[in-house]
């Protein structure tokens, strides 16, 4: 037991140490930028502050070494996941390429991460032209190099956490960003709603969080069990096998897509704003139409989450691929013929499971805004369903990992 404690402690200290180092790097300013000029400009232009917050995930005026954080890698991972789902050759490389295939996909992800880091650092460097009096192309090059190298270092450190620490590095970094913004969010919630915040609304907010977290845990942990039986088991036991008697199964989770449907929905609903801001279609009043008609906006939001959830789930888990894998392993579902019948059966089950999961996700995503409207409390931005999904998901992931480390070491210690 002492050995297990030591292992857990070492992993925990490594993860915490790396996270602290990254936080320090986020606040260490890039040399060459006059942060006095920048702070003055940001006071006058809140849009710049939002731009920096969008990239760094925190509410600071400092453009630090690790400002880009893990976001280029997240963007690259999403892109590679979509590419893998949509392009058959890359999908084949991932499934049938084995170790070499997976390494190729990893290299592709890193290359795209580097590309994203260059794009995002360039946009910051050129945006700062209006804020810095001593801006020059050489300074822009320096900013791009500092930020890009910082992003690659953060990627490397997150991989270290995943391999040698506790938890998944990228998820932990996003978790840290969300947690670090909570004190500011709480302050904003109280200061902007001091007039509206009564005992009833405080209880309502508390209840909202409780229901949201309970709903998210249900969504993340619940699964529809599809029992399996191998041909060997069928041969050994001539009695009809009951569906509930099988030890092997496929767990079809209610929420296969994670936070992707919410991210894609938000990205799509923001498009009309971008188009109008371009000034190309001056007569286009779509965003105003959507924003002022809140009910239409929230119904569209709800419907889009349902659609994207179904679409993304088929990318993550393809019934045809599962059926083919089961056939290769000589495993089948009791009462269902291998091949097309299994594909059809899995499609039916996944449709029902995905719809139910998407419904829960859409309800959880729109719940904070409904409560905002009812209780007349604003400023839930920053702690929506996406953030709660990530927070709860990371905590569940770490607890599962700790259990597996303890279990694996029990067997080691027993045989030592």
């Amino acid at each position: 037991m002492k050995k297990t404690d030591d292992i857990l402690l070492k992993r925990l200290l490594l993860s915490v140490g790396i996270l602290l180092f990254i936080r320090m790097g986020t606040f260490l300013p890039i040399p060459g930028i006059n942060h006095g000029h920048l702070a003055f400009y940001i006071q006058q232009h809140p849009i710049t502050k939002n731009l920096v917050s969008t990239f760094s995930g925190n509410d600071t005026f400092v453009i630090g070494l690790f400002t880009l954080n893990i976001f280029p890698y997240i963007n690259a991972s999403i892109m590679v996941q979509l590419i893998t789902g949509l392009i058959p050759s890359i999908s084949k490389l991932q499934k049938e390429g084995g170790g070499e295939g997976r390494r190729a996909i990893t290299r592709l992800t890193r290359l795209i991460t580097f590309g994203w880091a260059l794009i995002q650092s360039s946009s910051i460097a050129f945006y700062l032209k209006r804020a810095l009096f001593d801006w020059s192309p050489l300074l822009a090059f320096e900013i791009i190099l500092w930020l890009t190298t910082g992003a690659m270092i953060v990627l490397w450190l997150s991989e270290l956490i995943t391999e040698y620490g506790l938890g998944n590095g990228a998820s932990l970094l996003i978790y840290t960003n969300i947690i670090s913004s909570l004190p500011n969010l709480g302050k904003k919630l109280i200061s902007e709603n001091s007039g509206n915040l009564s005992a009833v609304s405080s209880i309502g907010i508390g209840l909202l969080f409780f229901i949201a977290i309970a709903g998210i845990i249900t969504l993340q942990e619940s699964a529809r069990i599809v029992p399996l039986i191998s041909s060997k088991q069928l041969g050994q036991n001539q009695q009809p096998v009951s569906k509930s008697g099988s030890n092997n199964y496929i767990p079809l989770r209610f929420n296969q897509a994670g936070v992707m449907p919410i991210i894609l929905t938000t990205a799509l609903l923001v498009l009309p704003n971008y188009i109008t801001n371009l000034g190309v279609f001056p007569l286009l009043t779509l965003p105003i139409f959507l924003k002022s008609s809140k009910i239409i906006y929230w119904v569209s939001y709800f419907a889009l989450i349902l659609i994207f959830s179904s679409f993304y789930s088929t990318i993550v888990l393809n019934p045809k691929d599962i059926s083919q894998e089961l056939q290769k392993m000589a495993v089948s579902i009791p009462g269902v013929r291998p091949g097309l019948a299994t594909t059809f059966y899995l499609k039916q089950v996944m449709k029902r499971v995905t719809f139910f999961g998407a419904l829960i996700l859409a309800i959880l995503a729109t719940l904070p805004n409904v409560i905002e409207g009812i209780l007349n409390v604003s400023s839930f931005n920053g702690l929506g369903t996406t953030s709660l999904l990530i927070l709860v998901g990371v905590v569940l992931d770490i607890s599962r990992e700790m259990k597996s480390i303890i279990l694996s070491n029990i067997y080691n210690e027993r045989f030592d």
Binding site: P31, S77, T106, T148, I153, T162
Partner: protein
């Protein structure tokens, strides 16, 4: 001169990070974690140590240049 060294250091760091292929991909499960039952290869260990040294050097550069400008 210092800036030239910094540029070379950045490029070398980026190159080293590209060289190192992780055992797991971003959202892979804990069951494929390395060092759970074994130890990393010596080449990987060397690459990790070199990257750590260069990273600390890079960080020190940033602190030094901040104070000197």
């Amino acid at each position: 001169m210092l800036k030239i060294i910094w540029v070379i250091l950045s490029i070398v760091l980026i190159g080293l990070i590209f060289l190192r292929t992780p055992q797991n991909q971003g959202l892979a499960s804990f069951s494929t974690k390395s060092n759970l039952l074994g130890s990393p290869s010596s080449a990987e260990q060397f690459l990790n140590n070199l990257t750590i040294i260069l990273m600390i050097g890079y960080f020190s550069f940033a602190v030094f240049l901040n104070f000197s400008i």
